[in-house]
């Protein structure tokens, strides 16, 4: 079995565990390359039917290409689609640096959406290789009633056994792509012929490696215009994936603080 097939099999196993063990479950779709792979894996896991809602927590500041992609595939893939809005930036913690404060809107929007729908679990497409605190995540990651992540006391996880028993008020984030790398995402996107937002391909010497809000996401220098070229570029680059994401770099622990509060 090749590595991509092994990753796929493990992610499908995780998605099926989540569906079996958690009632009131939703899958978070940020429209980026990772969550597109995740929706694809869910279709595979459940034989073409995604048996839980797919939710976009919308900052209303995404690129037009992303909205076009969302509207098309929510229909084509026959998803139970939910769109939830984020509160304005003025309501966010003033002590956070500006970009982190902007990113915090997403956390607040997410918390509101969870409360509104009463979700007990959310499937999210984070990967360990994206960022150092994510590398320490669990596949099934319990959150407190405020969405907070207690990274000092995470449940043990071994033998493919995940934490699926929770006291009332707990909510769990499920991470089926935790072990994938950025290159794996592209290799799989190519192998499976998964649709891609064109912003990932170079235009005028630049491309987006990671898609977030327009105001806090920057393109990186690149000449890669095909997936093969992206894969080649990633194998040789020494530029970190999230280097174009401003909020990660404002303070030594700004991203950790965001995540502890419930940011993805």
């Amino acid at each position: 079995m090749d590595r991509l097939s092994a990753l796929e099999a493990q992610s499908i196993f995780i998605l099926r565990e989540a569906f079996n063990r958690i009632d009131k479950l939703a899958l978070l779709w940020s429209l980026g390359k990772d969550s597109n792979v995740m929706v694809w894996l869910a279709r595979k896991a459940f034989f073409g039917h995604v048996p839980f809602p797919v939710m976009h927590v919308d900052t209303e500041k995404k690129f037009p290409e992303m909205y076009a992609f969302r509207d098309r595939y929510a229909k084509e893939w026959n998803l139970t689609f939910l769109r939830e809005l984020c509160p304005p930036v003025e309501e966010m913690d003033e002590t956070l640096p500006p970009a982190a404060r902007s990113a915090a809107r997403k956390t607040a929007g997410l918390k509101a959406a969870i409360a509104k729908h009463g979700f007990n679990g959310l499937i999210a497409g984070i990967r360990r290789d994206e960022e150092a605190t994510r590398a320490k995540e669990r596949v099934f990651s319990p959150r407190g009633d405020q969405g907070n992540w207690d990274f000092r006391d995470q449940p043990p996880e071994f033998f493919d056994q995940y934490k699926t028993e929770f006291p009332p008020g707990t909510h769990v984030r499920v991470h089926p792509l935790l072990h994938w790398t950025e290159v794996d995402i592209w290799l799989y996107t190519k192998r499976e012929n998964i649709p891609v937002i064109p912003l990932y391909f170079a235009k005028d010497g630049k491309r987006y490696r990671s898609l977030g809000d327009q105001d806090i996401t920057n393109p990186v220098p690149s000449t890669a215009v095909t997936i093969d070229e992206i894969i080649e570029e990633l194998r040789t680059t020494r530029v970190a994936e999230r280097s174009g994401r401003a909020m990660d770099h404002e303070a030594e622990d700004s991203f950790e603080r965001l995540r502890a509060e419930g940011y993805l």
């Binding site: 079996n20 034989f47 590398a135 064109p198 530029v239 970190a240 280097s243 030594e252």
Partner: protein, 641 residues
């Protein structure tokens, strides 16, 4: 394609870029022995650091007014950087020319053992780090032991901080010898033991001028020598049912093959229900509607199957092939031995009720007995009534129903489990069936087309003729406890009072009815099963059947009780091992002590005393006559017409 098309979505059809091999390695060892520094140095020397990371770490160190610290590469949490310790396991990717690696950093602090296990359990190989100056420490041993429990057999050892001992070969050889001896005693053969200085960069990716006496591989060379773990395709099929979906009029059984292969048309058996059925199809979803239907799936794959018959199936059922010479089915048992590591905040004591998760199977279990706690330092085993947090122990686990599983050495996936207390995973371990019987045969009913004979004589008629009810008086106890003596005396006493009584004893049964049985756990269980059935027939005939068998296992006695519902009376003939050994009427204890008899109950094999016997006679505290009086009175009352 030279320009990205301006459509909303792009479909790609280029040739596939090659995939590189990837291996997951865990780095373990005692705290402060230099794991993180070794990882940092590995990244640096293999050019795996992202741009700006080195500078960022330097800035973090300067802000704290400390010398450059590689550990910050993995220690992502502020608390870890502030305290200089790794709290949680982390993963980080790097590559050598040979392949890609995931390095899993596992905390060395005893306090964070659950995080160390979380990290190590995902690895295919391990690098154990030991400080050359400090030498082998508690966690060096404990981590080595846990790796072997987690099934990681590919291990390399780095004896670090050689710069602190003046690159002394003598010092290296001493630490190497000590640790090699330990690893070998727990069945781990280290691939290679490398002297290194992570801080100075000796023998990380190439030879060291400081240690010309060492001619083996560097750390990178050692890692590159590890092999990829292959899925267990050649072992018998095992697939736990994960879920059952009803989509588009198909009833799909979803699961992941942990070993073997499954093909359309295969006859499979669901355990523990023992239902057999054929695989009608292997389902998969593809975006390509023209993709051909699958006919075979292999270990590692998450699949769905449909069956040619709609049998009742549940999550946790274990699918295998109908057993034949090459393809054993999983064992069925309600009791097994386990070697476990305990992570619970409260210590574990006998009688503790927990939830067991094994594959997708869940069951209520009781930790019936703590056989001993293992000192991972010197491997001494000691009797204990409690297992403290982070300790390793051997225990006996009993479930409230029949489970399908495998001994760990036969199949790791269906032979390992976790324990859950309320909301938390509090332990994990591996299954051993040593001394316990596979109960599959004992519960499988082979004969079909049976019509029971309708007796014209009713139970009441028999009672009226005999003047008493039929019964099974089941004497259980250690060898030498006095079962046979009491059984024979009871038979005589009852006979003299006009009862119909007969003794079934080991010798008269093994001579005839059970002459074809040996002394394996399965044969011993079958021996007891037959005795139970025969005793039940005697009781149905209106007689009082007295049995005198050690019958050490609770499951066997429970089965005998079920064979004679309402007529079974369990009598514990009680005496301590010491008292029985002092009596030793047949000289068996003596032979067991010299090793002549293996698996001797009470010495080298367990005796599971009855939980709630109908009667206890204590032959150590009371005379045989007094025990006999108690028994006769009990029978007279129990069999009153």
């Amino acid at each position: 394609m030279t320009n990205a098309p301006k459509t909303t979505a792009l479909r790609l059809v280029e040739s596939a870029a090659p995939e590189r091999d990837q291996l997951k390695i865990v780095i373990v060892g005692h705290v402060d022995h230099g794991k993180s520094t070794l990882v940092g140095r590995l990244f640096h020397e293999t050019g795996s650091l992202p741009d700006g990371k080195f500078e960022a770490i330097k800035a973090m160190c300067e802000r704290r007014g400390m010398p450059f610290e590689w550990a910050f590469l993995m220690d992502a949490f502020q608390a870890e950087r502030d305290q200089g310790i790794t709290i949680d396991t982390s993963q980080i990717w790097f590559k050598t020319e040979a392949r890609d690696y995931v390095i899993i950093d596992a905390p060395g602090h005893k306090e964070f053992l659950k995080n160390m296990i979380t990290g190590a359990a995902q690895a295919e190989a391990a690098l154990l780090v030991i400080d050359a100056d400090e030498g082998v420490r508690e966690q060096s041993r404990r981590h080595g032991y846990l790796l072997s429990l987690l099934g990681i057999t590919q291990v390399a050892v780095a004896i670090n901080k050689m710069d602190l001992v003046g690159y002394s070969e003598e010092r290296f050889r001493a630490v190497e010898a000590e640790y090699r001896a330990y690893l070998e005693s727990i069945g781990v053969k280290p691939r290679v033991i490398v002297p290194v200085s992570a801080r100075e960069g000796d023998l990380i990716s190439g030879p060291s001028a400081n240690m010309p006496w060492y001619t083996g591989p560097s750390i990178v060379g050692a890692l590159d020598s590890f092999e990829k773990a292959a899925p267990m395709v050649e072992r018998p099929l095992r697939m736990f049912v994960q879920d059952i979906y009803k989509f588009d009029q198909r009833r799909i059984i979803a699961g992941r093959l942990s070993s073997g292969r499954i093909r359309v048309g295969d006859e499979v058996i669901f355990s523990p229900s023992n239902k057999t059925v054929r695989v009608k199809s292997i389902e998969s979803w593809s975006s390509d509607p023209a993709a051909p239907a699958r006919t075979v799936a292999e270990a590692g794959e998450s699949v769905g199957i449909t069956l040619d018959e709609q049998i009742f199936v549940e999550r946790g059922d274990l699918i295998s092939h109908v057993p034949d010479e090459d393809r054993a089915a999983p064992m069925e048992t309600d009791v097994f031995r386990a070697r476990l590591f305990w992570l619970g905040r409260e210590s574990l004591s006998e009688g503790k009720r927990l939830k067991l998760k094994l594959g997708t199977l869940e069951a209520q279990v009781t930790v019936e007995r703590i056989e001993h706690v293992v000192d991972t330092g010197d491997l001494a085993t000691g009797a204990a009534t409690h297992v403290e947090r982070n300790a390793v122990a051997e225990v006996v686990i009993r479930a409230n129903r029949l489970l399908a599983l495998d001994p760990y050495e036969d199949n790791p996936y269906s032979g390992r489990f976790v324990l859950v207390d309320r909301y938390d995973v509090v332990g994990g371990g591996i299954v051993s069936m040593e001394g316990y019987a596979d109960q599959r045969e004992l519960v499988t009913r082979r004969a079909t087309n049976i019509t029971r004979v309708e007796h014209r004589i009713t139970e009441d008629m028999r009672v009226a003729r005999n003047g008493h009810k039929g019964a099974v008086i089941w004497l259980t106890g250690l060898s030498g406890a006095g079962k046979s003596t009491l059984a024979v005396a009871l038979e005589q006493a009852l006979f003299e009072k006009g009862y119909q009584a007969y003794v079934l004893d080991g010798d008269n049964i093994r001579d005839g009815l059970n002459a074809n049985l040996g002394f394996s756990p399965e044969d011993r269980a079958e021996n007891i099963r037959r005795v139970g059935e025969v005793a039940s027939l005697f009781a149905s005939a209106g007689m009082i059947a007295i049995t005198a068998f050690i019958s050490p296992y609770r499951s066997d006695r429970e089965r005998a009780r079920k064979a004679a519902p309402g007529r079974f009376h369990e009598v514990h003939v009680k005496a301590s091992v010491e008292a029985c050994e002092a009596r030793d009427p047949k000289g068996l204890y003596k032979r067991a002590r010299t090793g002549e008899i293996k698996e001797f109950t009470g010495i080298s094999a367990p005796y599971e005393a009855p939980d709630a016997p109908d009667l206890v006679v204590d032959t150590e505290a009371q005379s045989i006559d007094s025990c006999l009086d108690t028994l006769v009175a009990y029978v007279a009352n129990a069999c009153r017409s």
